[in-house]
């Protein structure tokens, strides 16, 4: 019953999306059309209905209703409740439903609160949002119905991949989706502004909080996903340039560029066409990412053939959405001038430079990710991995970081480097010091060395915009910028330290053996069997000492899940201020010893700490913008109220 209810809600939501598109389109042709006034309320109700459909699916997973095909294929009654619920989006249909849910709710929210743009632009924007949503509704209803029944229902479900049964991963996909789909709002705003030819500072100011919000979620999602890969896969790597990872990195790169060009447009009425273009590109990258991940085309062209209808459907959606947006852009680009001019040495100049660098990095990641598909079409399988991505992206990352250090110090419009040279001195001194230290430590030349030298200087440089400012009166948005840029430096330092200073030890140890890794002494003191709700495990007990200090107990496990049957390792980590000890229990050897994998990774937590700082910077900037907007609304209302009263008195 619940499944049919959910399906009905989904159909209704789809029908309302069609109405929203129709109303918006009519309103563009004729502003007085009666349907135009219905666009906002319809958008809100559409969002609510699709949310109800999603809630129904969550409930079905919560009660493990095995008569629903999706539940039977992806859940199991013995799973802990949190993973039953998380199982809702741990599969194709459920994650696509989550996608349209976020899209519907975001559209509804915009319809409810956004009052700054001309009404015609808003209606065109909501029509754009409905246009994209409709495609995904069609995809769900015709090619991947999440509510399909199974008759007769099986006695037990097939379970969820144990690798996904982890608290980090339970919330990683929804976070990323909020980011992916949040960018659809930027896309729709760009469409709306193009249709009504209203590309200006007001458009940028309206779009900015939405882009910021989506970007914060993307940043958090990528950071959390990277940490998950780090501790869950059990090999100590944190970024693999895996296509799925790249699929999340590409929208982030585009959103980062969009965020910055939005600021230029809002402050200086420059970069109009470029900002609109990035708005289209950012969401296109989200859709390409979804296509790559969801179609299964990534691992192999053959996986694509398992269900070619789905892949073809998403590909067609992608072509229609991106294609029509680009056609609209091409038609209107001539009427959207670039706006105000500026000199090379100016805040805008630096922002444009880094925008182009970010776009180039995006280009490299896109080409590197798609290229294996291309060669496979010619019958040759190749792999593109870190040896390609690291140096190729570095070509653009290094100049970008250098400009990042200088840009925030420059004035808008026109400036001279000589004016800011005093502020550049401390970062240069710090980087020179880092260079000496790195050479003294005997780090081999290479990218990690570049990172170790750049990061400390960049950290200092990112603080320099605070120099000579009244800290308590500084706008929150400036704090946000400082924190986010410092976060980049922190993360970079962590990455470089991990590559340059990690030590690894693989050993087969008897119980009682002591192993040294870096400054640590690790004793294998015992192996115990333990069990959880849907697994059993062998748990190693390690007593670890840092430079002969007190013993700390660590318990890595080798787990066996029974539904589906699969073995995984659960690593144990111990974090100190200066790094992380990473331990993994492997298999038993024939002579009764146990495989241990141990890593000492100096400063590695800074990678994710930096990621969170970047997101925190985004939160500060968003809070600053939203508070300023609210204050403006309050003041405006007060003035209107006072005028009204004076009018009455007079």
């Amino acid at each position: 019953m619940l499944a049919e209810f959910g399906l009905a809600a989904l159909w209704l939501a789809a029908a309302l999306a069609a109405l929203q598109l129709l109303g918006g389109a009519m309103a563009v042709r004729d502003p007085d059309n009666a349907l135009g006034a219905a666009v906002r309320p319809v958008a809100v109700v559409q969002g609510l209905l699709v949310a109800i459909a999603f809630a129904a699916l969550v409930a079905l997973f919560g009660q493990t209703d095995l008569s629903v095909k999706l539940v039977a294929e992806n859940s199991h009654s013995a799973k802990p409740l949190i993973y039953k619920l998380a199982g809702t989006w741990g599969n194709h249909e459920g994650s696509m439903l989550l996608w349209v849910t976020v899209m519907g709710l975001a559209g509804g929210f915009v319809a409810l609160v956004e009052r700054r743009l001309p009404e015609a632009t808003m209606r065109a924007t909501l029509a754009g949002q409905a246009f994209v949503s409709l495609g995904f509704y069609g995809f769900l209803l015709f090619a991947s119905n999440p509510f399909a029944r199974l008759s007769p229902p099986p006695a037990e479900g097939q379970g969820l991949n144990p690798l996904l049964q982890d608290p980090g991963l339970a919330f990683h996909p929804p976070t990323l989706y909020l980011g992916y789909v949040g960018l659809s709002i930027a896309f729709s705003f760009a469409i709306g502004a193009l249709v009504t030819r209203e590309v200006g500072p007001a458009f940028a100011r309206t779009m900015r909080p939405w882009v910021l919000g989506a970007w914060i979620f993307l940043t958090l999602g990528i950071t959390a996903g990277s940490y998950w890969a780090y501790y869950d896969l059990g090999w100590g790597g944190w970024w693999f340039w895996d296509p799925v990872e790249n699929a999340s990195l590409m929208p982030w790169l585009a959103a980062t560029a969009l965020l910055h060009s939005c600021s230029v447009l809002a402050a200086r009425n420059a970069l109009r066409a470029w900002t609109v273009m990035l708005g289209v590109v950012a969401f296109s990258m989200s859709m390409i990412g979804t296509f790559l991940v969801r179609s299964g085309i990534l691992t192999s062209v053959h996986a694509f053939a398992v269900d070619p209808r789905r892949g073809t459907f998403i590909l067609a959606l992608l072509a229609i959405n991106i294609g029509s947006a680009l056609v609209l852009f091409a038609l209107r680009a001539a009427t959207v001038t670039e706006g105000e001019r500026f000199a090379v040495t100016s805040r805008e100049g630096a922002l444009v430079f880094n925008n182009v660098m970010l776009s180039s990095i995006l280009g490299i990641v896109l080409i590197g990710t798609l290229y294996p598909l291309f060669t496979e079409a010619f019958g040759e399988k190749v792999s593109v991995g870190p040896p390609y991505f690291n140096p190729m992206t570095a070509i653009f990352v290094v100049p970008m970081l250098l400009v990042l250090a200088v840009g925030p110090l420059l004035r808008w419009r026109r400036d001279r480097l000589a004016r800011v040279q005093l502020s550049l001195l401390p970062p240069l001194v710090v980087s020179a010091g880092a260079l000496v230290a790195v050479l003294a430590l005997g780090v081999r030349p290479g990218l990690p060395m570049v990172g170790l030298v750049l990061a400390p200087g960049l950290a200092v440089a990112s603080m320099m915009p605070l120099r000579g400012r009244h800290l308590r009166r500084l706008p929150l948005a400036v704090w946000g910028m400082v924190v986010a840029h410092a976060g980049i430096a922190v993360a970079l330092f962590g990455m470089a330290c991990d590559s340059a200073f990690s030590t690894e030890k693989l050993v087969a140890a008897h119980i009682g053996d002591v192993v040294a890794v870096g400054p640590w002494q690790v004793t294998l003191s015992g192996i115990e069997p333990v069990a959880g709700a849907n697994w059993t495990a062998l748990e190693g007990e390690l007593l670890v000492r840092y430079e002969g200090g007190d013993a700390i107990r660590m318990t890595p496990q080798a787990r066996s899940f029974w539904a589906p049957p699969q073995n995984t390792t659960v690593s144990a980590l111990h974090t100190r201020w200066n790094g992380q000890l990473y331990t993994v229990l492997g298999e038993e050897t024939e002579d009764g010893r146990w495989q241990l994998r141990l890593w000492w990774k100096p400063f590695v937590p800074l990678i994710w700490g930096g990621g969170f700082l970047v997101a925190l910077g985004g939160v500060l900037a968003l809070a600053g913008r939203v508070l300023a907007d609210l204050r403006r609304i309050v003041v405006r209302d007060k003035i209107a109220w006072r005028r009204l009263r004076q009018g009455r008195r007079a």
Binding site: L233, R341, F353, G363, V382, Y388, E504, A558
Partner: protein, 138 residues
């Protein structure tokens, strides 16, 4: 109490065969490092750029698959014998195809991959030049 311990031991024993049939022909260096740290570092650098053939997308340095263990063993043995890392890569490519290396070779089919950064640099230069010269004129 005793019964519980026994139950766990039984469970562990049941789990053991699952783990045991993973063992292929003996590969002593699958999970063992070379004694010489410099040779080991060389081997690790190479292993991180070789792809596990059965995993989704992991290097052989990051994989628990038996074939990855076998390949790690091969890499370590050959490095210990003094072979050049690129020779070992070439040998593996000859054996398993281009798919095995994460460092794509420049071939008739892959040259655009290496031309891409140059193309992007040129494009970036054009974009920036146009904007800035336009700025000066205004």
């Amino acid at each position: 109490m005793k019964a519980r311990v026994f139950a766990w031991l039984l469970l562990a024993a049941l789990a053991a065969p699952v783990r045991a049939d993973d063992t292929m022909p003996p590969a002593p260096y699958a999970y063992r490092q070379l004694a010489d740290p410099r040779a080991e570092a060389k081997a690790e650098a190479l292993m991180e750029t070789l792809r596990c053939l059965v995993c989704q997308s992991q290097s052989i340095a990051d994989s628990d698959a038996p074939i990855a263990g076998d390949m790690r063993n091969q890499v370590r043995l050959r490095i210990a014998r003094g072979e050049d890392p690129e020779e070992i890569r070439a040998w593996l490519v000859q054996r398993y195809g281009d798919y095995v290396t994460y460092a794509p070779r420049m071939t008739r089919l892959t040259w655009p991959l290496f031309a891409a950064p140059l193309g992007l640099l040129a494009l970036a230069a054009v974009l920036l030049r146009r904007r800035f010269t336009g700025g000066r004129a205004a």
